[in-house]
């Protein structure tokens, strides 16, 4: 069987070679070689043998470097954790509202003090309003009197004077 195939192959090669070969035909055939792929089992086995891990032939220098790399990464991770924890406590220390420092008694005292101040402010306001109201009343009264006595001039009176006039 193999002999028949071999003879047929040789015969075909001889037949084909009689035809003139152009560069493009040759190029086309050469391009077809690109479709050749290695056997997958061979590739898997070869890859495993090469990169199995234990037989990677790297020197002492590379091993030291790799150890240093691992050490440096662990140290960096530790440092990062410390920075995060330190940062959290730092924020807590400078926190504006410290819950533990809240004293209900002082808060109450502060609130009461605010109320008093508001009341005092209201008092002052009421007093000034009352004063101006008294003045205006007096001026109205004096106006009325003026009208009745045919005196067209206004006279500005103080509260005491207005009270005296009213009592009269």
């Amino acid at each position: 069987m193999q002999l028949i195939v071999r003879i047929r192959t040789i015969r075909c090669i001889r037949m084909n070679s009689q035809i003139s070969i152009t560069f493009m035909d040759l190029l086309k055939t050469l391009q077809q070689f690109k479709n050749i792929e290695p056997n997958k089992d061979f590739t898997r086995k070869s890859r495993r043998e090469l990169l199995g891990g234990s037989n990677i032939p790297f020197g002492i220098y590379q091993n030291i470097l790799r150890t240093l790399e691992v050490g440096a990464s662990v140290a960096l991770a530790g440092l990062l954790i410390l920075v995060i924890l330190g940062g959290a406590s730092y924020i807590k220390f400078f926190e504006p509202l410290q819950i533990t420092a809240i004293d209900p008694a002082s808060i109450k005292a502060e609130a009461e003090a605010i109320d008093i101040q508001i009341e005092l402010a209201n008092l002052n306001y009421n007093e000034s309003v009352a004063r101006s109201a008294g003045e205006s009343t007096v001026s109205v009264v004096s106006q009325e009197e003026g009208v009745s006595s045919d005196d067209s001039e206004f006279k500005v009176l103080s509260i005491e004077e207005a009270l005296d006039l009213l009592s009269q």
Partner: protein
């Protein structure tokens, strides 16, 4: 060229197996084809391809980027492996002594009988060329490598590669007509 190749090479030099694995995955089929076309037998091509990558792995720590592509370094190793192979195995594969199935990988079986025979014919013709003609033909016309990369791999100038390419094709056609 492989994406992020420089980074992978740097990692492989430092001993990172996965980086070398990525380089292997990308270049292994190319090196395999290069070797297979030159030696003809699939088993020999597999052994030699493995040897090429083993040698590359062992020499990885001393690899220095000299401005040449990484592939040119691998092709150089492959060429030396093939030379050593022929030095130690004096007898060369011939059509009479070798089973037809050994010439090409099973992956091309779907080309049909005619296509397969045509490829076998060209492959045998390539094997009759001088080694440097073989290298140029495979790198330029099978792998489509740019002239510069071929020149780097062969340690020749681009002009010399163009000349070699021209002569190789002329010689190849001559062998095919005479066969």
């Amino acid at each position: 060229m492989l994406d992020g190749e420089d980074k992978l090479i740097a990692q492989a030099i430092r001993g990172k197996a996965s980086a070398f694995g990525s380089l292997y995955d990308y270049y292994q089929p190319k090196i395999y084809r290069f070797v297979l076309i030159k030696v003809g037998r699939r088993e020999d091509a597999e052994d030699l391809t493995h040897q090429v990558f083993l040698a590359a792995l062992e020499s990885m720590k001393s690899y220095k980027d000299m401005g040449y592509p990484f592939s040119s370094w691998l092709y150089r190793i492959a060429r030396n492996q093939v030379i050593d192979f022929y030095r130690t195995n004096k007898k060369e594969a011939s059509i009479e002594e070798t089973e037809p199935d050994f010439f090409v990988a099973p992956a091309i079986a779907h080309f049909g009988v005619e296509g397969k025979m045509e490829m076998e014919k060209v492959q045998l013709a390539i094997q009759k060329l001088k080694p440097e003609y073989q290298d140029v033909v495979i790198m330029r016309f099978v792998e489509d490598l740019p002239i510069k990369e071929v020149a780097d791999s062969l340690g020749k100038s681009e002009g010399a590669v163009k000349l070699l390419q021209h002569r190789a094709i002329r010689e190849l056609k001559k062998i095919l007509v005479q066969a």
